[in-house]
């Protein structure tokens, strides 16, 4: 998944750089008699049109895949309340009291069941990022004070999943983490 993004980026980057290098080389080989680009206005028009079509296709393919629509018309099997606080996550099946936040020691889901995380923060902004057993980021939302973000997800593989904080929250940000299990 993520390496395909990198690969895609590399391909378009190399193509763009090649065009620039090629254009530079044509300039190097030119003398006073060469005439530059023929019909630049027409070419510009086509270039913009093609770009617009490509972007349009990209937008219409990717926007429906946005996380806001993930499993939007299903009922979640498990609901987990998450309260982030410098520099901890509390996770619980029941609502968390902001004055005395407490979470469960371990959280477990079944594979392929729909889980809804209701994520908030009790102090500053934090991130709630789920990493799978091979430490790839697979889903995330923000933990913002005063708001609850609902993230729905189904975990396909059993194993230990890690949560890392992905919004800078102060000096122990890099230590802010927790885990849950999928069986």
């Amino acid at each position: 998944m993520h390496y395909s993004i990198l690969l895609f980026f590399l391909i378009v980057a190399v193509i763009s750089i090649s065009v620039f290098v090629y254009v530079f080389l044509t300039s190097k080989q030119s003398d006073n008699n060469t005439t530059g680009m023929a019909n630049p206005l027409q070419k510009r028009f086509w270039f913009i049109l093609i770009l617009l079509v490509i972007l349009g296709i990209f937008a219409s393919v990717t926007i429906p895949k946005s996380p806001y629509y993930l499993f939007a018309d299903e009922q979640p099997k498990a609901v987990v309340h998450v309260a982030a606080m410098q520099f901890n996550f509390f996770m619980s099946d029941s609502a968390i009291d902001p004055k005395m936040p407490k979470g469960e020691d371990s959280i477990t889901f079944n594979t392929n069941e729909l889980v809804e995380f209701r994520v908030t923060s009790l102090d500053v902004n934090h991130g709630f990022a789920i990493y799978n057993a091979s430490n790839k980021l697979i889903a995330q939302t923000q933990a913002m004070p005063g708001y609850v973000n609902r993230l729905r997800f189904k975990f396909k593989e059993p194993g230990t999943y890690h949560i890392f904080c992905l919004e800078y929250c102060g000096m122990a940000h890099q230590l802010m983490r927790t885990t849950f299990t999928v069986k």
Partner: protein
């Protein structure tokens, strides 16, 4: 062109380059700490990070402004007093900011996202000092922008300054592209600086109310990124204004002219740049969905005028055309390339479904360092080089040109590659030390740090050559 303006500009250039070298060293320090080659306390790391981020944004913003101010004098009379005032306020603001960070240990990151500045993990006085330093910078820059806008409006009408007359058949008056782009960009900057001031006022209101007034975190985040996104993008456009003016001139080619599509593109840019910032809040699911979609569409559409007009114009200007290549226009050309590549990385990340797995990973510093370190920096270096050679009457040797470019390009690519790979590998950004789960993180940090050091050597050569010539301009009797 008055010699006073040349002296002020020389001063700006020297200041920017000096602060740049310091900030790069902080950047390399961060990478080596992440690689565990050196060991800083997390507080020191995050203080470095805060200083590095805000100083970099500040200096490349003023670098663009100083260049635009210098060139604008060709068309209209600009105020030397305001220019110097802006320099003084910038230096004062940076010193206040450094005091709050280096001495007070304030380390809320360059975005100082509410309510982090109030969760004091540093000297209590550092928060207000930091906010005052922002206020000084914002007010100084606002005065500068408004003074430049006023200078243009004295000569050009509103229609003309935005080049709207090109939408009618047979426009009677001309608008130089430089004036159009400067105007569009300065209006954007004024909007974003006013937002910064509103932000600082809201923060102060909460700070001094002692708990009776509390801000809304979502609103504050929107304001923060409206400001942060706009300033980071507009400073690139300042560089583009310089390129529209100088590329043809340095290349020995006829000057670029405004046409209807140049006018249309830049007028659209003003709109897109002010709405694309919503892509910073994709992972805040409570943000209205319409704004999220608008964020992706505006981010996509912002690339059309950029690629279709500016980049295409550079390509047309160079393709099969004999050009007098010097270090200056080469830097412009390579800078546009870096801008495009960084833009591709940005469009990928501005896609909501990708952002789901890239947001706040190293992909973010990867793409914005591409269009800064390999884009905007090169735009400004091109101008600095041209300026210092042109006005110091020095015989300019292009001896080291190839070496300098080689160091910047090789160092830059290696430094950035480590970020991109880290991003695809899900490694978080803004981590002083990496948890053991991220097995490649330390190695990548080491590679990034080593290549960044190569980049630094290239910059040091530029620094020595350019400042030497600028000092000469500064102390010359009749420049």
């Amino acid at each position: 062109m008055t010699s006073r303006l040349k002296k002020i500009t020389s001063l700006w250039i020297t200041t920017v380059l000096l602060l740049f070298v310091i900030s790069i060293i902080l950047g390399i320090t961060m990478r080596f700490n992440q690689a565990e080659v050196i060991r800083l306390s997390p507080i020191t790391f995050y203080t470095d990070m805060t200083v590095h981020g805000l100083t970099m944004i500040g200096i490349w913003f003023v670098a663009g402004m100083a260049a635009v101010n210098f060139i604008m004098e060709r068309y209209v009379k600009t105020s030397k007093f305001v220019n110097i005032l802006a320099l003084v306020l910038t230096v004062v603001g940076v010193l206040m900011f450094w005091a709050s960070t280096f001495i007070g240990k304030f380390h809320a990151g360059w975005t100082f996202l509410y309510p982090l500045p109030f969760k004091v993990m540093w000297s209590a006085w550092a928060t207000p000092l930091f906010l005052y330093s922002l206020a000084v910078l914002a007010v100084g820059w606002l005065i500068w922008c408004i003074s430049l806008i006023a200078a243009m409006l004295k000569k050009y009408s509103i229609t003309q300054v935005f080049a709207w007359q090109y939408f009618k058949k047979g426009p009677k008056e001309e608008t130089p592209p430089f004036i159009l782009i400067s105007m569009i960009t300065l209006v954007g900057i004024v909007t974003c600086l006013i937002t910064a001031i509103v932000l600082v006022v809201l923060l102060f209101a909460e700070y001094y109310s002692k708990g009776t007034f509390v801000n809304d975190a979502l609103l504050m985040k929107n304001l923060t990124y409206f400001f942060g996104h706009a300033i980071a993008n507009e400073m690139l456009y300042l560089g583009l204004a310089v390129i529209y003016e100088m590329f043809a001139e340095i290349s020995g080619r006829p000057k670029w002219k405004t046409t209807w599509y140049v006018s249309l593109a830049w007028n659209c840019t003003l709109f897109f740049i002010l709405t694309a910032f919503f892509h910073h809040l994709y992972m805040d699911f409570v943000q209205p969905e319409g704004l999220q979609i608008l964020g992706q569409l505006a981010s996509y559409l912002a690339s059309l005028p950029a690629a279709g007009v500016t980049v295409f114009s550079i390509v047309v200007a160079v393709y099969r055309t004999k050009i007098n290549w010097t270090l200056a226009n080469l830097l412009f050309f390579i800078g546009v390339m870096g801008w495009v590549v960084g833009g591709l990385g940005a469009v990928i990340d501005a896609t909501i479904s990708n952002n789901f797995v890239l947001h706040n990973t190293l992909w973010v510093p990867a793409h914005f360092h591409t269009y800064n370190a390999m884009g905007n920096v090169l735009f400004s270096l091109g101008f600095f080089y041209w300026f210092s050679v042109n006005f110091s009457n020095s015989r300019h040797s292009e001896k080291l040109s190839a070496l300098k470019l080689f160091l910047l390009i090789v160092g830059g690519i290696g430094f950035l590659a480590a970020f991109y790979i880290g991003g695809a590998d899900s490694i978080p950004r803004r981590y002083s030390n990496y948890p053991a789960e991220f097995v490649h993180a330390k190695t990548l940090a080491l590679i990034g740090g080593v290549f960044a050091s190569i980049y630094l050597i290239g910059i040091l050569i530029f620094f020595v050559n350019i400042t030497r010539r600028c000092v000469k301009i500064l102390f010359s009797q009749s420049a």
